[in-house]
């Protein structure tokens, strides 16, 4: 079959190279995700029905979600628990932002500030935020304060670390370029170092938020009367596995929404970056 001799003068974009053996499995790939979901649901249903391990069937989970959404758990409606968790994370996150990023950037930009604060920071950095729970409770009882403090530690450390590396390893070439254009030291800070460090600072914000989200769950499981973490622990105590699993799905969904929000914010704050691969 003679192909039509197409007279193209525009520069053709040669197809991205795909190793030849990968290509031939293209046909049934689209079907697989559907298959795997169906498979997963099927397996879940079978295990639940046969009581191999105490696992609620998907139907029970949906029922549980409905019950919790309309009724109350430990005296509070579902959205209240979710609201409390998010509120704790938000407060801690904002404080961490206000303290962590300036400290990290200043330490990265000025050696003297680094020499002063870094040693102390290095003592506390390796301590996992959840290890602060006992001391926090000892200091602040079991109200809101200790939970917000734990989440603050979780958000604070990655923000400082990433802002520091972002500033310290900002591309020297860009600094030189700005100097040849007549930039003063402070102009270099605001016009070059800070924007160049932005992606790394933002990575710190992302890590901080996901770590903070983990910490609020831990804090709520150890000493709380409300919150998403308390929800799933409560499910454990009343031995209602449907409540645990639905609680986990809610937490997973919230985590997912936070991640989507952050990816969107990344586009807003650093619109000039290429799409990452994965």
């Amino acid at each position: 079959m003679a192909l039509n001799k197409v007279d193209i003068n525009v520069q053709p974009k040669e197809e991205g190279y795909v190793p030849k053996s990968k290509k031939k499995t293209f046909s049934y790939i689209q079907v697989l995700p559907v298959v795997s979901f169906a498979l997963a649901l099927g397996i879940w249903w079978v295990i639940a029905e046969l009581e191999l391990i105490r696992l609620p069937t998907p139907a029970e989970v949906i029922m549980q979600l409905y019950v919790m959404a309309t009724g109350t758990v430990a005296g509070q409606p579902l959205h209240f628990h979710v609201y409390m968790s998010l509120q704790r994370v938000l407060i801690a996150f904002v404080i961490a932002l206000a303290v962590g990023i300036p400290l990290g950037t200043m330490m990265g930009w000025n050696r003297r500030i680094e020499k002063i604060f870094n040693p102390i920071f290095e003592i506390f950095r390796p301590i996992p935020p959840i290890a602060w729970v006992p001391l926090a409770i000892l200091w602040m009882g079991i109200g809101e304060a200790p939970k917000i403090f734990i989440v603050w530690v979780g958000c604070f450390v990655p923000m400082v670390v990433n802002s520091f590396t972002g500033m310290r390893y900002a591309d020297k070439l860009l600094m030189d370029a700005s100097r040849t254009l007549g930039a003063t030291r402070s102009q270099q800070f605001f016009n070059v170092a800070l924007p160049a460090a932005l992606p790394s600072i933002f990575a710190g914000v992302q890590n901080g938020l996901s770590l903070g989200w983990m910490c609020v769950l831990a804090a709520e499981m150890i000493a709380a009367r409300e919150g998403a973490g308390f929800l799933i622990l409560q499910g454990m105590y009343v031995r209602n596995e449907a409540m645990i699993v639905s609680g986990m799905l809610i937490i997973g969904l919230l985590g997912f929404l936070i991640a989507i929000f952050l990816r969107y914010m990344e586009k807003v704050i650093t619109p000039w970056r290429k799409e990452e691969l994965v």
Partner: protein, 262 residues
């Protein structure tokens, strides 16, 4: 910008750090000694050191020496961590290399991925009680996810030219996986391992705070119950130091293995 002074001794370079550290410890000591902060909620540095030495060999008050706590925690963390790595890394590599595996596993993985490892504690205790197995399972989950993600990214970033080099010499797609794909993913695999380790170490503490009768997490929990801030601080600093030690071990192993990177 001019050339570095030939001989810069340690003191002139770091006098600021030494000053700030000593100020920090003095301030900490002053807070407790002067009674501004009661010694029932904060222990001064001297007491902390004394307790540290005491705990090295004594089991009181919570029933195990520091070493026994550390041993329990390490065994738990490292079993969960190595299981997570041994299963997570190969899976991530296979997902990144073979489209069918990616299409099959990816949806499941993407559903479970946003659930933080700590959220697995209740269901794990519900299923397996509060024994060793339950906590190892939780730590396995916490280490498994970062290993899969970073190995997957690592192999996806393989330089396509190197794949063609192997294929031109007649290497099958499978052989290219071992000769080119896996070695080029090694640096990212290590990034995943380091992340997995820190997550595992943190999840361990959470699990031990909730349900344990030995381990560093249990020790600091008991410190709170017995109003012994010195035991809490000793426990916290040990957790931090050991975590940092293992991380630096992994780092040196990593820099040896991927020194080929520019």
């Amino acid at each position: 910008m001019n050339n570095v002074k030939l001989k810069n001794n340690f003191f002139t370079e770091n006098y600021l750090s030494i000053l700030s550290l000593s100020f920090f410890f003095l301030f900490w000591y002053y807070l407790v000694a002067s009674g501004i902060v009661s010694d029932r909620i904060l222990a001064d540095p001297i007491t902390t050191i004394q307790t540290f030495i005491f705990k090295l060999t004594n089991t009181s008050p919570e029933g195990a020496t520091l070493f026994q706590h550390l041993r329990t925690s390490l065994i738990l963390a490292l079993t969960g961590f190595s299981l997570g790595a041994v299963i997570g890394v190969p899976l991530g590599l296979l997902m990144g290399w073979y489209k069918p595996v990616d299409a099959l596993v990816r949806p499941l993985f993407d559903v479970l991925r946003p659930i933080p490892p700590i959220a697995w504690i209740p269901i794990s205790i519900f299923w397996f009680g509060i024994g060793m197995f339950s906590k190892s399972f939780i730590i396995f989950v916490s280490a498994f996810v970062p290993c899969v993600i970073n190995s997957y990214t690592g192999i996806r970033l393989t330089n396509p030219t190197l794949i063609r080099v192997a294929e031109v010499y007649g290497a099958s797609y499978r052989e290219t996986f071992f000769r080119v794909g896996v070695p080029s993913a090694v640096p990212m695999i290590f990034t995943g391992l380091k992340l997995a380790l820190s997550t595992a170490w943190m999840t361990l503490v959470a699990a031990e705070l909730l349900a344990a009768n030995e381990g560093l997490g249990y020790m600091i929990q008991m410190g709170r119950r017995l109003a012994r801030p010195d035991i809490i601080i000793v426990g916290m600093l040990t957790i931090g130091a050991v975590g940092a030690l293992i991380a630096s071990g992994l780092q040196s192993f990593d820099s040896k293995l991927s020194k080929w990177r520019s």
